[in-house]
Protein backbone atom coordinates (compact mmCIF):
# COMPACT_ATOMS: atom_id res chain seq x y z
CA UNK A 1 0.00 0.00 0.00
CA UNK A 2 1.21 3.47 -0.84
CA UNK A 3 2.32 5.66 2.02
CA UNK A 4 0.55 8.70 0.60
CA UNK A 5 -2.57 8.67 -1.52
CA UNK A 6 -3.86 11.89 -3.00
CA UNK A 7 -7.09 11.73 -4.96
CA UNK A 8 -8.78 14.39 -7.02
CA UNK A 9 -7.66 17.45 -5.05
CA UNK A 10 -9.44 20.59 -6.19
CA UNK A 11 -8.87 24.11 -4.94
CA UNK A 12 -10.46 27.38 -5.99
CA UNK A 13 -9.59 30.91 -4.94
CA UNK A 14 -12.59 33.13 -5.61
CA UNK A 15 -13.31 32.24 -9.22
CA UNK A 16 -9.88 30.93 -10.18
CA UNK A 17 -9.54 27.18 -10.20
CA UNK A 18 -5.98 26.55 -9.10
CA UNK A 19 -6.12 22.77 -8.74
CA UNK A 20 -8.45 20.79 -10.97
CA UNK A 21 -8.33 17.27 -9.64
CA UNK A 22 -4.80 16.25 -8.73
CA UNK A 23 -4.17 12.58 -7.97
CA UNK A 24 -0.99 10.69 -7.24
CA UNK A 25 0.44 8.13 -4.87
CA UNK A 26 3.78 7.89 -3.21
CA UNK A 27 5.44 4.82 -1.71
CA UNK A 28 7.44 4.85 1.47
CA UNK A 29 11.06 5.80 0.86
CA UNK A 30 10.35 7.23 -2.56
CA UNK A 31 10.36 10.79 -3.71
CA UNK A 32 8.45 12.66 -6.35
CA UNK A 33 9.46 15.90 -7.97
CA UNK A 34 6.77 18.25 -9.18
CA UNK A 35 7.71 20.48 -12.08
CA UNK A 36 5.81 23.05 -14.07
CA UNK A 37 5.74 26.77 -14.74
CA UNK A 38 4.84 29.37 -12.13
CA UNK A 39 1.12 29.51 -11.50
CA UNK A 40 0.57 25.88 -12.41
CA UNK A 41 -0.58 25.09 -8.86
CA UNK A 42 2.48 23.27 -7.52
CA UNK A 43 2.81 25.39 -4.41
CA UNK A 44 -0.92 25.31 -3.73
CA UNK A 45 -0.81 21.53 -3.87
CA UNK A 46 1.91 21.44 -1.19
CA UNK A 47 -0.02 23.95 0.89
CA UNK A 48 -3.10 21.74 0.67
CA UNK A 49 -1.14 18.72 1.84
CA UNK A 50 0.11 20.73 4.82
CA UNK A 51 -3.37 22.14 5.47
CA UNK A 52 -2.21 25.71 5.05
CA UNK A 53 -5.07 25.74 2.55
CA UNK A 54 -8.11 23.50 2.82
CA UNK A 55 -8.84 21.66 -0.42
CA UNK A 56 -12.35 22.14 -1.76
CA UNK A 57 -12.57 18.58 -2.93
CA UNK A 58 -10.60 15.39 -2.78
CA UNK A 59 -9.04 12.90 -0.46
CA UNK A 60 -5.71 12.71 1.34
CA UNK A 61 -4.64 9.47 3.00
CA UNK A 62 -1.40 8.69 4.81
CA UNK A 63 -0.61 5.07 5.80
CA UNK A 64 -4.24 4.26 5.17
CA UNK A 65 -5.47 6.91 7.59
CA UNK A 66 -7.79 9.40 5.95
CA UNK A 67 -6.59 12.91 6.80
CA UNK A 68 -8.93 14.74 4.52
CA UNK A 69 -12.07 13.67 2.75
CA UNK A 70 -14.33 16.29 1.22
CA UNK A 71 -17.26 13.86 1.12
CA UNK A 72 -17.07 13.41 4.90
CA UNK A 73 -16.11 16.84 6.09
CA UNK A 74 -16.09 16.02 9.81
CA UNK A 75 -12.95 16.11 11.88
CA UNK A 76 -11.63 19.43 10.75
CA UNK A 77 -11.44 21.31 14.02
CA UNK A 78 -8.37 23.41 14.52
CA UNK A 79 -6.90 20.93 16.97
CA UNK A 80 -7.40 17.97 14.60
CA UNK A 81 -5.91 19.83 11.67
CA UNK A 82 -2.94 20.71 13.82
CA UNK A 83 -2.36 17.02 14.56
CA UNK A 84 -2.83 16.01 10.93
CA UNK A 85 -0.24 18.51 9.83
CA UNK A 86 2.39 16.54 11.70
CA UNK A 87 2.26 13.83 9.03
CA UNK A 88 3.86 16.34 6.70
CA UNK A 89 6.87 18.59 6.96
CA UNK A 90 7.29 21.65 4.79
CA UNK A 91 10.45 23.46 3.79
CA UNK A 92 9.63 26.93 2.49
CA UNK A 93 11.19 28.81 -0.36
CA UNK A 94 12.00 31.68 2.03
CA UNK A 95 13.21 29.46 4.93
CA UNK A 96 11.04 31.20 7.55
CA UNK A 97 13.40 30.48 10.41
CA UNK A 98 12.50 32.11 13.71
CA UNK A 99 14.94 35.03 13.96
CA UNK A 100 15.08 35.25 17.75
CA UNK A 101 16.26 31.66 18.17
CA UNK A 102 19.62 30.10 17.35
CA UNK A 103 19.86 27.35 14.74
CA UNK A 104 19.73 24.73 17.49
CA UNK A 105 16.77 26.39 19.23
CA UNK A 106 14.92 26.60 15.92
CA UNK A 107 15.21 22.84 15.57
CA UNK A 108 14.34 22.15 19.22
CA UNK A 109 11.39 24.50 19.66
CA UNK A 110 8.62 22.50 18.08
CA UNK A 111 9.48 19.02 19.43
CA UNK A 112 9.52 20.60 22.89
CA UNK A 113 6.24 22.51 22.51
CA UNK A 114 4.29 20.03 20.44
CA UNK A 115 5.52 16.60 21.47
CA UNK A 116 6.98 17.39 24.88
CA UNK A 117 10.24 15.66 24.03
CA UNK A 118 12.54 15.69 27.10
CA UNK A 119 15.15 18.42 26.90
CA UNK A 120 18.20 16.14 26.88
CA UNK A 121 16.86 13.86 24.14
CA UNK A 122 15.57 16.83 22.15
CA UNK A 123 18.99 18.49 22.20
CA UNK A 124 20.73 15.29 21.13
CA UNK A 125 18.33 14.80 18.22
CA UNK A 126 18.65 18.40 17.14
CA UNK A 127 22.44 18.30 17.27
CA UNK A 128 22.47 15.09 15.28
CA UNK A 129 20.21 16.62 12.64
CA UNK A 130 22.33 19.74 12.37
CA UNK A 131 25.49 17.68 12.02
CA UNK A 132 23.74 15.66 9.33
CA UNK A 133 23.18 19.00 7.59
CA UNK A 134 26.87 19.87 8.05
CA UNK A 135 26.09 22.66 10.48
CA UNK A 136 27.62 21.49 13.75
CA UNK A 137 29.80 24.58 14.08
CA UNK A 138 26.84 26.83 13.26
CA UNK A 139 24.36 25.55 15.80
CA UNK A 140 24.65 28.55 18.11
CA UNK A 141 24.34 31.14 15.36
CA UNK A 142 21.21 33.19 14.84
CA UNK A 143 19.56 33.05 11.41
CA UNK A 144 20.83 36.49 10.35
CA UNK A 145 24.37 35.28 10.93
CA UNK A 146 23.91 32.43 8.45
CA UNK A 147 24.02 32.37 4.67
CA UNK A 148 20.86 31.54 2.76
CA UNK A 149 22.08 28.01 2.10
CA UNK A 150 22.85 27.48 5.77
CA UNK A 151 19.47 28.89 6.78
CA UNK A 152 17.71 26.53 4.41
CA UNK A 153 19.62 23.57 5.83
CA UNK A 154 18.58 24.60 9.35
CA UNK A 155 14.99 24.76 8.06
CA UNK A 156 15.33 21.22 6.70
CA UNK A 157 16.66 20.00 10.07
CA UNK A 158 13.78 21.79 11.79
CA UNK A 159 11.23 20.04 9.57
CA UNK A 160 12.90 16.65 10.09
CA UNK A 161 12.91 17.05 13.88
CA UNK A 162 9.21 16.21 14.00
CA UNK A 163 9.80 13.01 12.02
CA UNK A 164 7.13 13.66 9.38
CA UNK A 165 5.93 10.82 7.14
CA UNK A 166 6.38 12.99 4.09
CA UNK A 167 8.78 15.91 3.76
CA UNK A 168 7.71 18.58 1.26
CA UNK A 169 9.99 21.13 -0.36
CA UNK A 170 8.55 24.25 -1.93
CA UNK A 171 11.20 25.47 -4.36
CA UNK A 172 13.89 25.12 -1.70
CA UNK A 173 16.62 26.78 -3.74
CA UNK A 174 14.70 29.50 -5.58
CA UNK A 175 15.68 32.18 -3.08
CA UNK A 176 19.36 31.25 -3.15
CA UNK A 177 22.36 32.47 -5.10
CA UNK A 178 23.48 29.88 -7.64
CA UNK A 179 26.62 29.10 -5.64
CA UNK A 180 24.55 28.31 -2.54
CA UNK A 181 22.08 26.09 -4.39
CA UNK A 182 24.47 23.16 -4.48
CA UNK A 183 24.85 22.75 -0.73
CA UNK A 184 21.10 22.54 -0.26
CA UNK A 185 20.60 20.16 -3.18
CA UNK A 186 23.37 17.92 -1.80
CA UNK A 187 21.53 17.65 1.51
CA UNK A 188 18.26 16.74 -0.20
CA UNK A 189 20.08 14.22 -2.36
CA UNK A 190 21.49 12.61 0.77
CA UNK A 191 18.00 12.45 2.30
CA UNK A 192 16.80 10.73 -0.84
CA UNK A 193 19.58 8.16 -0.60
CA UNK A 194 18.54 7.55 3.01
CA UNK A 195 15.04 6.79 1.72
CA UNK A 196 13.24 9.81 3.09
CA UNK A 197 9.78 10.09 1.55
CA UNK A 198 9.72 13.47 -0.17
CA UNK A 199 7.73 15.71 -2.46
CA UNK A 200 9.98 18.25 -4.14
CA UNK A 201 8.64 21.22 -6.04
CA UNK A 202 11.59 22.56 -7.98
CA UNK A 203 12.80 24.35 -11.07
CA UNK A 204 16.12 22.47 -11.04
CA UNK A 205 15.35 19.98 -13.81
CA UNK A 206 18.54 17.92 -13.66
CA UNK A 207 18.15 17.65 -9.92
CA UNK A 208 14.48 16.69 -10.21
CA UNK A 209 15.45 13.91 -12.58
CA UNK A 210 18.42 12.56 -10.63
CA UNK A 211 17.03 12.64 -7.13
CA UNK A 212 13.39 11.73 -7.49
CA UNK A 213 11.89 8.37 -8.40
CA UNK A 214 8.80 9.88 -9.95
CA UNK A 215 8.12 13.17 -11.63
CA UNK A 216 4.85 14.99 -12.11
CA UNK A 217 4.46 17.76 -14.65
CA UNK A 218 1.67 20.15 -13.77
CA UNK A 219 0.13 22.80 -15.94
CA UNK A 220 -2.85 25.05 -15.18
CA UNK A 221 -3.94 22.97 -12.22
CA UNK A 222 -3.89 19.54 -13.82
CA UNK A 223 -1.34 16.75 -13.99
CA UNK A 224 -0.28 16.67 -17.63
CA UNK A 225 2.22 13.88 -17.34
CA UNK A 226 3.51 11.64 -14.62
CA UNK A 227 5.84 8.71 -14.49
CA UNK A 228 9.37 7.81 -13.63
CA UNK A 229 11.48 10.93 -13.26
CA UNK A 230 13.91 9.97 -16.02
CA UNK A 231 11.08 9.21 -18.44
CA UNK A 232 9.14 12.40 -17.82
CA UNK A 233 12.11 14.73 -17.88
CA UNK A 234 14.32 13.12 -20.53
CA UNK A 235 11.66 11.57 -22.76
CA UNK A 236 8.42 13.49 -22.26
CA UNK A 237 5.46 12.21 -24.23
CA UNK A 238 3.05 15.10 -23.98
CA UNK A 239 3.47 18.11 -26.22
CA UNK A 240 3.00 20.55 -23.33
CA UNK A 241 5.75 18.86 -21.31
CA UNK A 242 8.11 18.95 -24.27
CA UNK A 243 7.52 22.67 -24.73
CA UNK A 244 8.11 23.38 -21.07
CA UNK A 245 11.30 21.33 -20.90
CA UNK A 246 12.74 22.66 -24.13
CA UNK A 247 12.51 26.17 -22.72
CA UNK A 248 14.68 24.94 -19.87
CA UNK A 249 17.13 23.30 -22.23
CA UNK A 250 17.54 26.60 -24.06
CA UNK A 251 18.16 28.45 -20.84
Amino acid sequence: MALLEVENICKRFEKTEVLKGISFTLNEGESVSIIGSSGSGKTTLLRCLNFLEMPDEGLIRVRGETLFDSSAPAGNTEEEIRRKRLHFGLVFQSFNLFPQYTALENVMLSPRLVNGVPEEENRKNAEALLSQMGLTDRKDNYPHQLSGGQQQRVAIARALALKPDVLCFDEPTSALDPELTGEVLRVIRKLSEEKTTMIIVTHEMAFARDVADQAIFMDEGVVVEQGSAVEVIDHPKEERTKQFLSRYAEA
Binding site: N96, F98, L113, V114
Partner: protein, 218 residues
Protein backbone atom coordinates in the same frame (compact mmCIF):
# COMPACT_ATOMS: atom_id res chain seq x y z
CA UNK B 1 13.24 79.61 49.13
CA UNK B 2 15.04 77.13 46.87
CA UNK B 3 14.36 74.32 49.34
CA UNK B 4 10.72 75.26 49.68
CA UNK B 5 10.29 75.33 45.93
CA UNK B 6 12.14 72.05 45.47
CA UNK B 7 9.99 70.30 48.04
CA UNK B 8 6.81 71.68 46.52
CA UNK B 9 7.85 70.67 43.03
CA UNK B 10 8.87 67.21 44.21
CA UNK B 11 5.42 66.80 45.70
CA UNK B 12 3.87 67.92 42.42
CA UNK B 13 6.15 65.60 40.50
CA UNK B 14 4.89 62.71 42.58
CA UNK B 15 1.40 63.46 41.24
CA UNK B 16 2.82 63.55 37.71
CA UNK B 17 4.61 60.25 38.26
CA UNK B 18 1.51 58.59 39.72
CA UNK B 19 -0.58 59.54 36.70
CA UNK B 20 2.21 58.45 34.35
CA UNK B 21 2.74 55.03 35.93
CA UNK B 22 -0.93 54.17 36.36
CA UNK B 23 -1.71 55.24 32.79
CA UNK B 24 0.98 52.90 31.49
CA UNK B 25 -0.08 50.07 33.79
CA UNK B 26 -3.59 50.05 32.32
CA UNK B 27 -3.11 51.28 28.77
CA UNK B 28 -0.28 48.92 27.76
CA UNK B 29 -2.42 45.75 28.10
CA UNK B 30 -5.67 47.49 27.11
CA UNK B 31 -3.98 48.73 23.93
CA UNK B 32 -3.12 45.14 22.97
CA UNK B 33 -6.75 44.08 23.44
CA UNK B 34 -7.94 47.04 21.37
CA UNK B 35 -5.43 46.19 18.62
CA UNK B 36 -6.79 42.63 18.43
CA UNK B 37 -10.27 44.13 18.21
CA UNK B 38 -9.32 46.47 15.40
CA UNK B 39 -7.74 43.57 13.48
CA UNK B 40 -10.74 41.28 14.03
CA UNK B 41 -12.36 39.86 10.94
CA UNK B 42 -15.73 40.24 12.69
CA UNK B 43 -17.01 43.60 11.48
CA UNK B 44 -19.28 44.08 14.51
CA UNK B 45 -16.11 44.20 16.60
CA UNK B 46 -13.62 45.90 14.32
CA UNK B 47 -15.77 48.74 13.00
CA UNK B 48 -16.81 50.25 16.37
CA UNK B 49 -13.25 49.92 17.63
CA UNK B 50 -11.81 51.62 14.58
CA UNK B 51 -14.39 54.36 15.07
CA UNK B 52 -13.31 54.78 18.69
CA UNK B 53 -9.65 54.98 17.68
CA UNK B 54 -10.53 57.59 15.08
CA UNK B 55 -12.40 59.75 17.57
CA UNK B 56 -9.78 59.46 20.29
CA UNK B 57 -6.85 60.13 18.00
CA UNK B 58 -8.73 62.81 16.11
CA UNK B 59 -9.64 65.05 19.06
CA UNK B 60 -7.40 66.81 21.59
CA UNK B 61 -6.61 65.03 24.82
CA UNK B 62 -7.48 68.28 26.57
CA UNK B 63 -11.01 68.09 25.21
CA UNK B 64 -11.30 64.43 26.20
CA UNK B 65 -10.28 65.27 29.76
CA UNK B 66 -13.00 67.92 29.99
CA UNK B 67 -15.66 65.70 28.42
CA UNK B 68 -14.85 62.72 30.60
CA UNK B 69 -14.77 64.77 33.78
CA UNK B 70 -17.78 66.99 33.21
CA UNK B 71 -19.77 64.85 30.75
CA UNK B 72 -21.24 62.25 33.11
CA UNK B 73 -22.26 64.92 35.64
CA UNK B 74 -24.16 66.88 33.04
CA UNK B 75 -25.73 63.86 31.33
CA UNK B 76 -26.57 61.80 34.42
CA UNK B 77 -26.97 64.69 36.88
CA UNK B 78 -24.57 62.82 39.13
CA UNK B 79 -20.84 62.94 39.77
CA UNK B 80 -19.64 59.41 39.03
CA UNK B 81 -16.01 60.24 39.75
CA UNK B 82 -16.39 60.78 43.46
CA UNK B 83 -15.65 64.03 45.17
CA UNK B 84 -12.48 65.96 45.75
CA UNK B 85 -8.93 65.38 44.55
CA UNK B 86 -9.33 61.61 44.33
CA UNK B 87 -12.35 61.85 42.05
CA UNK B 88 -10.62 64.29 39.70
CA UNK B 89 -7.56 62.09 39.61
CA UNK B 90 -9.62 59.04 38.63
CA UNK B 91 -11.36 60.98 35.88
CA UNK B 92 -8.00 62.16 34.55
CA UNK B 93 -6.61 58.62 34.72
CA UNK B 94 -9.57 57.24 32.77
CA UNK B 95 -9.12 59.87 30.07
CA UNK B 96 -5.40 59.16 29.81
CA UNK B 97 -5.87 55.39 29.73
CA UNK B 98 -8.46 55.59 26.95
CA UNK B 99 -6.38 58.03 24.93
CA UNK B 100 -3.10 56.17 25.26
CA UNK B 101 -4.64 52.72 24.76
CA UNK B 102 -5.82 53.86 21.36
CA UNK B 103 -2.41 55.19 20.38
CA UNK B 104 -0.68 52.07 21.69
CA UNK B 105 -3.16 49.82 19.88
CA UNK B 106 -2.16 51.33 16.57
CA UNK B 107 1.51 50.79 17.37
CA UNK B 108 0.81 47.17 18.33
CA UNK B 109 -1.24 46.67 15.18
CA UNK B 110 1.56 48.02 13.01
CA UNK B 111 4.04 45.75 14.78
CA UNK B 112 1.91 42.64 14.54
CA UNK B 113 1.02 43.19 10.90
CA UNK B 114 4.64 43.79 9.96
CA UNK B 115 5.57 40.21 10.90
CA UNK B 116 5.75 38.17 7.67
CA UNK B 117 2.96 35.63 7.24
CA UNK B 118 5.68 33.00 6.74
CA UNK B 119 6.45 33.12 10.47
CA UNK B 120 2.89 32.04 11.27
CA UNK B 121 2.92 29.39 8.56
CA UNK B 122 6.24 27.98 9.75
CA UNK B 123 4.73 27.66 13.23
CA UNK B 124 1.61 26.05 11.80
CA UNK B 125 3.39 23.39 9.77
CA UNK B 126 5.47 22.63 12.85
CA UNK B 127 2.25 21.76 14.63
CA UNK B 128 2.18 24.66 17.09
CA UNK B 129 -1.07 26.00 18.48
CA UNK B 130 -2.16 29.55 17.76
CA UNK B 131 -1.16 30.76 21.20
CA UNK B 132 2.21 29.01 21.01
CA UNK B 133 2.83 30.74 17.70
CA UNK B 134 1.87 34.12 19.12
CA UNK B 135 3.76 33.90 22.40
CA UNK B 136 6.81 31.87 21.36
CA UNK B 137 7.38 33.11 17.83
CA UNK B 138 5.62 36.38 17.07
CA UNK B 139 5.55 38.42 20.28
CA UNK B 140 9.26 39.08 20.77
CA UNK B 141 9.61 40.07 17.13
CA UNK B 142 6.74 42.53 17.61
CA UNK B 143 8.31 43.91 20.80
CA UNK B 144 11.57 44.49 18.99
CA UNK B 145 9.83 46.42 16.24
CA UNK B 146 7.65 48.58 18.46
CA UNK B 147 10.24 49.72 21.01
CA UNK B 148 11.18 52.88 19.07
CA UNK B 149 7.61 54.11 18.42
CA UNK B 150 6.55 53.11 21.93
CA UNK B 151 9.38 55.05 23.53
CA UNK B 152 8.30 58.07 21.54
CA UNK B 153 4.74 57.76 22.76
CA UNK B 154 5.74 57.12 26.37
CA UNK B 155 7.99 60.18 26.47
CA UNK B 156 5.08 62.20 25.10
CA UNK B 157 2.98 60.85 27.96
CA UNK B 158 5.43 62.26 30.52
CA UNK B 159 4.69 65.73 29.24
CA UNK B 160 1.01 65.17 28.50
CA UNK B 161 0.33 64.48 32.17
CA UNK B 162 0.54 68.25 32.68
CA UNK B 163 -2.78 68.55 30.83
CA UNK B 164 -4.52 67.00 33.82
CA UNK B 165 -4.37 70.37 35.54
CA UNK B 166 -7.26 71.51 33.35
CA UNK B 167 -9.52 69.60 35.73
CA UNK B 168 -7.42 70.66 38.72
CA UNK B 169 -5.41 67.50 39.16
CA UNK B 170 -2.29 68.58 41.01
CA UNK B 171 0.92 67.94 39.20
CA UNK B 172 4.27 69.60 38.95
CA UNK B 173 3.41 72.61 36.76
CA UNK B 174 0.42 73.40 38.93
CA UNK B 175 2.75 73.65 41.91
CA UNK B 176 5.39 75.58 39.98
CA UNK B 177 2.90 78.12 38.72
CA UNK B 178 1.47 78.72 42.17
CA UNK B 179 4.69 80.54 43.09
CA UNK B 180 3.95 83.25 40.53
CA UNK B 181 0.88 84.28 42.48
CA UNK B 182 2.12 83.66 46.00
CA UNK B 183 5.72 84.87 45.74
CA UNK B 184 5.90 86.76 42.46
CA UNK B 185 8.73 84.59 41.15
CA UNK B 186 8.84 82.79 37.82
CA UNK B 187 11.97 80.64 38.06
CA UNK B 188 10.14 77.67 39.71
CA UNK B 189 8.31 77.29 36.42
CA UNK B 190 11.62 76.83 34.59
CA UNK B 191 12.70 74.54 37.37
CA UNK B 192 9.76 72.20 36.54
CA UNK B 193 11.31 71.85 33.06
CA UNK B 194 14.41 70.36 34.69
CA UNK B 195 12.29 67.63 36.24
CA UNK B 196 10.77 66.77 32.87
CA UNK B 197 14.16 66.77 31.19
CA UNK B 198 15.73 64.52 33.79
CA UNK B 199 12.85 62.08 33.74
CA UNK B 200 12.59 61.84 29.97
CA UNK B 201 16.39 61.51 29.83
CA UNK B 202 16.15 58.56 32.19
CA UNK B 203 13.47 56.97 29.99
CA UNK B 204 15.56 57.54 26.89
CA UNK B 205 18.43 55.63 28.50
CA UNK B 206 16.06 52.83 29.53
CA UNK B 207 14.61 52.42 26.04
CA UNK B 208 18.06 52.56 24.52
CA UNK B 209 19.05 49.72 26.82
CA UNK B 210 16.00 47.66 25.80
CA UNK B 211 16.79 48.23 22.13
CA UNK B 212 20.35 47.08 22.74
CA UNK B 213 19.14 43.98 24.56
CA UNK B 214 17.01 43.03 21.54
CA UNK B 215 19.84 43.65 19.13
CA UNK B 216 20.91 40.03 19.05
CA UNK B 217 18.44 39.11 16.31
CA UNK B 218 16.98 40.72 13.22
Amino acid sequence: MFVTVTLSLLEGFLGTLRLFCLTLLFSLPLGLIISFGSMSRVKVISVPIKLLIWVIRGTPLLLQLLVIYYGPGILLQKNIWGSGDAGRFIAALVAFVINYSCYFSEIYRGGIQSIPVGQYEAGQVLGMTKSQIFFRVILLQVVKRIVPPMSNEIITLVKDTSLARVIAVYEIIWNGQSFIKSEGIIWPLFYTGVFYLLFSGLLTILFHYIEKRLDYFR
